[in-house]
């Protein structure tokens, strides 16, 4: 009796508190796909170095005199001992790129005071007083902060570690963000592949591009008979005359570039007339690399522009921010087509390129996400919106609008980090909006082809290794078959058991990839009542009609 009363009170309270909004009680995941953040959630806990900081020091051991956790949540590494360090274990994934922001409260003016070499392959980081950001690729799962020089002290506070990728934020309280893998890049083999754009006859003061080098020395762009851009031993090198040039990598002023995906912005204050443009080939030499989202402006981008470009892909070209005008965009090759031998110039300049040998790399995580854009897909080519012809691609085809959802073209997916809040679900609920005309897909899948929810092949829903499921459509109406009418429909699956799942993937089941829009993916750890199902359907119907 006590249980019945408590459950009733709980249900009443839940409904009362969530009128006209999504039910939040027992909500473990809510992907609204309202935006894509370049950086993920905070990965390091206790970044304030509070007193007795267990995360940074083994609590079973007494810190040496050279490590002092201060009352103001900072840590001081002193010169009492040599080569002292603090660390957090199992916070990094090897070969993954991270952005680290930290504050130096006081330090000797010695750039060798701190090293992250053990963690991110960064030999030297800035140590002047103030806040700094560095980006590197993990070579260890442990994050170390070291003081390697004797005779100097350093006090550090407010460290923040974020993975450099694009995420759809989780709007529940669990931050189970979905990492997005819907970018496309063009891959060049380094032997004989290129894109030839002949003589576009455009002025260049700024060029922006995503690049992933196979090695630290590669040929990137030929611009004229005397101007080109290469990477040489990990340094971006500008050949020819580049007056007052600036180079930004991932929004930071630096010439260093490694072998992970990077966003590069290069500026000069004097126009270069580009008349012999080739991607991945300079003279008779070819580059082994992947390229995406190449933009050329006849205006000089500022550092704030470079930051906007990095943090908000495509915002510059659509005039959503920054100092540069759309009229200054003179070349724009998204390299998102996915097939064919033409690299379309979406700037309107008409300087299409001929793809020779290069092939597309789908499912890229750190380049502009097609899943978060409007695009067209005619003749199997995915073309982005032409900035000068809003609503259409460069060929005049109407776009498939993402309508605030995750706009998949059958070649990408989302990955939700495995978390105890999900694997603890034994009798839960999954809900989502779906707008599809295709008849074969799987919405959510796990680590093997045996774990899936919401799979169909022109017929009924099937679910594998996911509990005893009951399905509903557009509210609490029982349903066994999805609708393929190209309109939005809201589906609910109750009785979901995720306890054996170790991966949580949106549309990454071979031969069942989604070519449709999915939105408002909700996962609860309990079974929603009919009233609650109707509530979630009703409150989000207005934006899915």
């Amino acid at each position: 009796m006590i249980n019945v009363i408590q459950n009733t009170i709980g249900a009443l309270a839940r409904r009362a508190s969530t009128a006209a909004s999504i039910i939040t009680q027992n909500l473990q995941l809510w992907l609204g796909f309202t935006k894509a953040d370049v950086l993920g959630a905070e990965l390091v806990e206790n970044g304030d170095f509070s007193l007795g900081s267990d995360d940074w020091w083994n609590p079973a051991l007494t810190p040496p005199n050279s490590v002092v956790f201060n009352a103001n949540n900072s840590v001081t590494l002193t010169s009492v001992d040599s080569n002292v360090y603090i660390r957090q274990s199992n916070v990094l994934d090897i070969d993954t790129t991270y952005s680290i922001t930290y504050t130096i409260d006081s330090a000797s003016a010695d750039i060798n005071v701190l090293k992250l070499v053990s963690s991110l392959g960064i030999a030297v980081i800035p140590t002047s007083n103030g806040t700094h950001t560095v980006v590197g690729t993990a070579i260890s799962t442990t994050l170390y902060i070291e003081r390697t020089s004797n005779g100097v002290n350093a006090t550090i506070s407010n460290i923040s570690i974020k993975e450099v990728s694009q995420f759809a934020p989780d709007k529940s309280t669990n931050t189970n963000n979905a990492k997005l893998f819907t970018g496309k890049a063009l891959g060049f083999d380094g032997v004989n592949d290129l894109v030839d754009l002949s003589n576009p006859n455009i002025n260049l003061k700024s060029i922006c591009f995503w690049v992933n080098l196979d090695t630290t020395s590669e040929q990137i762009f030929n611009l004229t008979s005397t101007h080109n851009i290469t990477a040489s031993s990990g340094v971006i090198t500008l050949v020819g005359t580049w007056s007052n040039s600036n180079i930004y990598v991932d929004g930071v002023a630096t010439t260093s570039i490694g072998t992970t995906p990077k966003r590069v912005v290069i500026t000069t204050d004097t126009n270069i007339l580009v008349n012999d443009l080739e991607f991945a080939k300079i003279g008779s030499d070819y580059g082994a690399l992947s390229l995406a989202d190449v933009q050329i402006y006849d205006a000089e981008l500022s550092l704030p522009d470079a930051l906007i470009d990095y943090n908000n892909p495509n915002d510059l070209v659509f005039n959503k921010g920054g100092s540069v005008a759309l009229a200054n965009l003179v070349g724009y090759w998204a390299l998102s087509e996915g097939s064919g031998s033409i690299a379309y110039d979406s700037s309107g300049g008409g300087n299409n390129g001929t793809i020779t040998g290069a092939t597309y790399d789908d499912k890229q995580p750190t380049i502009p996400q097609l899943g978060m854009m409007d695009w067209s897909n005619t003749s199997g080519k995915t073309l982005i919106e032409a900035p000068n012809n809003v609503g259409y691609d460069i060929l005049g085809n109407a776009l498939r609008l993402r309508e605030g959802g995750f706009n998949l073209d059958g070649s990408g997916y989302g990955s939700i980090a495995s978390d105890a809040t999900l694997t603890a679900i034994t009798t839960g609920t999954i809900q989502f909006w779906l707008k599809t005309s295709t008849t074969k897909f799987s919405v959510l899948n796990g680590q093997t082809s045996s774990e899936f929810i919401g799979q169909t092949d022109s017929g009924v829903w099937t679910d594998g290794n996911a509990g005893t499921i009951t399905a509903y459509k557009d509210g609490s109406t029982a349903n066994t078959s999805p609708v393929y009418d190209g309109d939005w429909h809201f589906y609910t699956f109750t009785g979901v058991n995720l306890s054996t799942w170790t991966s949580f993937l949106i549309s990454n089941l071979t031969a069942f990839e989604l070519d449709c829009i999915i939105d408002e993916l909700l996962i609860y750890s309990d079974v929603l009542t009919a009233t609650e199902i109707d509530n979630n359907f009703n409150v989000s119907s207005a934006t899915h009609s």
């Binding site: 083999d189 032997v191 004989n192 008779s284 040998g357 092939t359």
Partner: protein, 122 residues
């Protein structure tokens, strides 16, 4: 499309006909207006490289001493005998005459002789 193999041909082989095992996939063909095959033409490696440049990339030409060599990218399989046929082209010959190679091996060979390398644009 991406090839899966590279081959470095000497001039004689490059100017010569492709092996019969490659004809089904790479020989030049003549069709009538209805799309029916009328004739299969003799095809050289030089023509194969030109026909498939967009698909596989440029043919890279370089010299070692006075001798010219040509690196082609192809898509071949053991199942249809085409890899074996290409291997046969290089039997009893010295490197790099008609040698099959991987992407990295091709890059190294071209890089080692890059002062003399050019791309063939048809």
């Amino acid at each position: 499309m991406q090839g899966n193999i590279f081959i470095c041909l000497n001039r004689a082989t490059y100017k010569g006909l492709i092996p019969t095992e490659l004809e089904g996939k790479y020989s030049r063909k003549v069709y009538d207006e209805e799309g029916a095959l009328i004739e299969t033409l003799d095809t050289t490696f030089e023509q194969l490289g030109a026909d498939n440049r967009i698909k596989f990339g440029n043919v890279i030409e370089f010299k070692i001493g006075a001798k010219k060599y040509f690196v082609l990218e192809l898509d071949c399989s053991w199942l249809d005998g085409s890899v074996s046929a290409l291997l046969g082209l290089g039997s009893n010959m010295n490197y790099p005459n008609n040698c099959l190679m991987t992407n990295k091996e091709a890059m190294e060979l071209i890089k080692d002789n890059q002062d003399e390398s050019t791309s063939i644009i048809h």
